[in-house]
Symmetry: C2
Subunit: 351 residues, 2 copies
């Protein structure tokens, strides 16, 4: 998972195919060669042991996709993080959660609203998930600190960003829960935030957006929530208020307008039965791929181009069994020749 | 139409049955007797002539349901006013119209918004309809005064209410259009406003609500627009603003969130083809009732009670032909024994 070139989707497919990380690690060089590239540089055993010791020393824990403590709703995402680092009260992962996200530079009124909403949802037994950012995120965590709140950080579990949130993040270690996908010590970079946002959206039965500018990170979280089949909710504002435009736009696109905790509960209630169904991503039902159909690799390679196309289309056009196509894609991926795009699309780089 | 006890629905049914007002007037006493009551006191010919002279003297005109100048979209309402009095530019009735309504005590910002929206919609060729009330209504008329606006008053065409709107109403006589259902000189009373609101909703392809309190007249207009199959649009606001609650509630119930003229145009565009279809309420296609089924009257009378029930249900339960049931209802109506309620429901008073 820490090896460059192996993302969550590839990781998940390797485990689905080879059963264990150890078996997958052994197979990767061979698969990459068949895909026509050189093998990714795999992280060493000692790198892994160093991180494990580090996490242990921080008083944090690993949560591994497919294992008991791993949040079940998050596991439903196609690109669920294979590994999470968690510090705090792990029992919060067993309760239904709602995400509250919004602008870092939100108005004081909107922050007060977010804090009140988080408080009221907490009183109703819901855990509030957010991103420990300035503005709405901070207000949401504050409102639900007494009842249960989870902060997902973009960098390492031990990195405070923004720096002034150190006290808040520390409070969450002690009275809430902090989750990170990146290894300890990682300073968050721009590209980390969308990854963080998918975790926020994935943990929650629904996401409430409070004040968001058009094209902001909060709208990305909302889109990811919608793609994951979760409820998207938005708090409206006057068209005269530029900070309301993102939320109003979301409502126009079909998000549920919410004005209070009651509205949120009404919107997420139909989703509650999902929580009852135990769902492990590696249980039977996961596609089992066929081996030994070397011919599929050439066909798939020919079908791919620089423009992203849906995997389903490649399967259909190839005429090959779906398992054989998936294996060919995995080989190209490990050879560093496949790019994975949003919506399950893939494209190929020239060999 | 000016006779007490004959409302728009009854009037329309009488004309549908008897062809002309003269024939209907002759038939009313007989029908009422068959319904088990005494005939309504019919207004005299001289009363009618006096009103016609008065309207003429005011420089106003009658528009009669089923005749050329009568607004076609309004004629689609089941309870379309049989007669309208109009003063101003009648050509405005030929253009597509959007209603803008809202709170009388709206915020200055909302009034400015309404004026700007009306202006922008006017620039796009739409006529703006409203109710010549304080607040949002006045702002909407002002914004569209140059491009075309219709004010529907609750009282007589010559009555200024609120009094401070005299200059605005006079401007609409000269550069827009004013419509009234009540006879000249009528001072508007509380019960007149919902009637006025149905005309606003009925004239327009869609109604935009800007700032409205829960349970306000603007929400009645929105409901009437929805019942008439027109587009209902609402301008959102912060949940912290009590004046936004009515609009936010409308959006939660399915109204389209609009932030500007572009959003309004996008919402009403699919309805434009309706304007092309010439639709006269008295053309073939109108149900023709069967005569001479005196037995239906007794059955219908037995089926009715003091609680309102849908006419469709009475028809179904009676086992009688729909035309015979309608005739029986008309007879009871003219006998002063039938009450008509929203949603096509009826109830009976004891004989």
């Amino acid at each position: 998972m820490r090896s460059p070139g192996i993302g969550p989707v590839t990781y998940r497919q390797l485990i689905a195919r080879f059963g264990t990380p150890a078996a997958a690690l052994q197979a990767v060089p061979d698969l990459a060669r068949r895909g026509g590239g050189k093998a990714p540089t795999l992280r060493s055993r000692s790198d892994a042991e160093r991180e494990i010791a580090q996490v242990d020393k921080l008083g944090a824990k690993f949560l591994s996709l497919g294992q008991g403590l791993y949040p079940r709703l998050l596991a439903e995402l196609e690109d669920a993080p294979p590994l999470l680092i968690a510090k705090g009260d792990l029992t919060l992962l067993d309760r239904q959660a709602v995400a509250i996200v919004g602008a870092r530079n939100a108005s004081a009124a909107a922050c007060r609203f977010a804090r009140g909403l988080a408080h009221d949802l907490g009183e109703q037994g819901l855990v509030v998930v957010s991103g420990l950012a300035r503005g709405i995120d901070s207000a949401a965590h504050d409102g639900a600190l007494e009842t249960g709140t989870i902060g997902v950080v973009a960098g390492g579990i031990d990195f405070f960003y923004p720096p002034e949130n150190e006290a808040r993040q520390t409070a969450l270690y002690e009275r809430g829960l902090v989750l990170a996908e990146m290894p300890p010590g990682t300073e968050p970079r721009a590209r980390h935030f969308p990854y963080r946002n998918r975790i926020i959206a994935g943990l929650a039965v629904g996401t409430v957006v409070v004040e968001a500018a058009p094209r902001s990170g909060s709208l990305i979280t909302a889109r990811l929530a919608a793609e994951a089949g979760r409820e998207v909710m938005a708090v409206p504002g006057s068209p005269l208020d530029p900070r309301a435009q993102g939320c109003n736009q979301l409502i126009r696109q079909g998000a549920t307008l919410v004005q209070n905790a009651h509205d949120v509960l009404e919107a997420v209630r139909p989703l509650q039965p999902r929580l009852a169904s135990s769902h492990s991503p590696y249980e039977p039902g996961e596609p089992q791929w066929m081996d030994g159909d070397a011919g599929a690799l050439g066909i798939v390679e020919d079908l791919l181009g620089p423009s992203p196309v849906p995997v389903d289309e490649i399967i259909r056009l190839s005429g090959a069994p779906s398992g054989a196509v998936q294996m060919a894609l995995l080989e190209l991926d490990l050879a560093g020749r496949l790019d994975r795009h949003a919506g399950g699309k893939v494209s190929i780089r020239p060999a």
